[in-house]
């Protein structure tokens, strides 16, 4: 079976979102998660720029330049939404009022350390945005990332090598080939893509893996990536 594509990974994370949750979705892959939340759920999507209750992307003719999410996407408001200023938005984030934030990452360590910002792009200044606040203070931090870099290096490590975003924060990791939680003892695998053995998964991972007793197959429906 093929590894999950980015939208399938978003779909898989969405399956773990419960009714009534307040969720913040990071730029890039994570924002797609909202498309796969059960339609009859009341899930509140919070965006750092102050929107509480982000709806789907706006259609071209309904797009409003002042109705944007933190990723500058023109969005709609869900019923029951409101908008607050940035000070209040980050008070909400830092105060622990976000149940789950789903973030992209470069690396996650077995102690839950997260590295998802990088100030080492040559000549470019650092860009951190709201990631540190979200990672430090959301009730749960879930990571969506490929299991390995394009060069095949592991992203799940004993210790992060890149600059940290926050310490001891990641609870779950959804990769293209596995679903893994971070426990006090380290990484615990809950699902593996059929066709990948436990040994093969361990070989592609930079830290010791444990396997849950009920470890099962990772599966997702077919979802085509949009043509770009």
């Amino acid at each position: 079976m093929k590894p999950l594509n980015r939208l399938q990974m978003a779909w898989r994370a969405a399956q773990d979102i419960a009714d009534g949750m307040v969720v913040n979705l990071g730029l890039g892959m994570p924002v797609n998660v909202s498309d796969y939340v059960a339609h009859d759920f009341d899930v509140v999507i919070q965006s750092e720029n102050g929107i509480i209750g982000v709806g789907p992307l706006a259609s071209a003719n309904a797009a409003d330049p002042d109705l944007v999410d933190a990723g500058s996407r023109r969005v709609t408001l869900r019923a029951g939404s409101t908008i607050i200023d940035s000070a209040a938005s980050f008070a909400m984030i830092r105060g622990g009022h976000i149940d789950v934030t789903i973030l992209g990452a470069f690396e996650v360590a077995a102690n839950g350390d997260l590295a998802n910002w990088d100030n080492r792009i040559p000549d470019k200044g650092p860009l951190v945005g709201g990631a540190m606040d979200l990672a430090a203070s959301a009730q749960a931090v879930w990571v969506l990332m490929e299991h390995n870099t394009r060069k095949g290096a592991p992203r799940l490590l004993e210790r992060c090598t890149l600059p940290l975003t926050a310490v001891h924060c990641v609870k779950r990791i959804y990769t293209d080939i596995a679903v893994i939680s971070v426990e006090p003892e380290g990484f615990l695998v809950h699902q593996i893509l059929p066709g990948i053995s436990r040994d093969a998964l361990q070989a592609r991972t930079g830290a010791k893996l444990a396997f849950a007793p009920d470890c099962s197959d990772l599966a997702a429906p077919a979802i085509a990536l949009p043509e770009i």
Binding site: D64, L67, D85, A87, I93, L127, G129, M132, D133, A136
Partner: protein, 226 residues
């Protein structure tokens, strides 16, 4: 004598901003940039400015014009580059050449420090950034089971913010996500100037005011042709 905070032109609205000033600029994610005030500030041309702005570069903001004009000594922000991957922005070139000072903060710390200045709080502890490069050298302390970083207030000489509607008291409303950093910046700056879409000749109803005119010193009704 009635309060009159309106200024007829953007030039009048930014008049008096001088060399060395710390300028706060609202706007995030494409909404809330006071671009006409920033253009007037560029024309005024004060030097050695410190900018307090979330993004040093955003494609819908003209912050970069201040930087390109060599007016900026330092930038305090949470994003020192835009998402544009092609080439180097003016900011990035100056940063590469070591010609501009940079202070990067997590966005929540950035805005809480601005709010703190406006609220009379010189410093506060936050969990954000603990254990990261951005907290390197900063005082830390443990409260309960967690570690926190001591962060200091960020005050401004001037805030240039964008809003939707103003009345003659300087009360403001904002459209959707337009407010972002504007309200906090207005409270933290000695002089707060608001660029607005429209002016209401009657008072904005109490329950609709999103920022009290107490925090707003000057109003400029944006030129729609600009």
């Amino acid at each position: 004598m009635a309060i009159e905070k309106r200024r007829a032109t953007a030039d009048e609205a930014v008049a008096g901003i001088s060399d060395g000033a710390t300028i706060m600029l609202s706007g995030f994610a494409g909404s809330g940039f006071a671009n006409q005030l920033v253009a007037a500030l560029r024309d005024l041309g004060p030097r050695n400015l410190t900018l307090v702005v979330n993004s040093a570069t955003h494609r819908l903001a003209n912050t970069h014009e201040l930087i390109e004009a060599g007016m900026v000594r330092k930038v305090i922000c949470s994003a020192a580059r835009g998402h544009d991957k092609s080439g180097l922005s003016a900011f990035e070139q100056l940063y590469k050449d070591g010609k501009i000072e940079l202070e990067v903060l997590p966005q929540g710390t950035f805005v809480e420090s601005i709010r703190a200045a406006g609220a009379g709080i010189p410093a506060y502890f936050t969990p954000t950034g603990f254990g990261t490069d951005l907290a390197a050298g900063k005082e830390t302390r443990r409260f309960g089971a967690r570690d926190y970083v001591l962060e200091q207030a960020i005050a401004g000489d001037v805030a240039l913010i964008r809003a939707d509607t103003a009345d003659r008291w300087g009360n403001l409303t904002f459209r959707h996500a337009q407010q972002n950093f504007g309200p906090a910046m207005a409270t933290a700056a000695k002089l707060a100037v608001a660029e607005v879409r429209g002016f209401s000749d009657t008072p904005i109803p109490s329950a609709q005011v999103q920022l009290s005119g107490v925090f707003v010193d000057r109003i400029f009704v944006a030129d729609v042709r600009a």
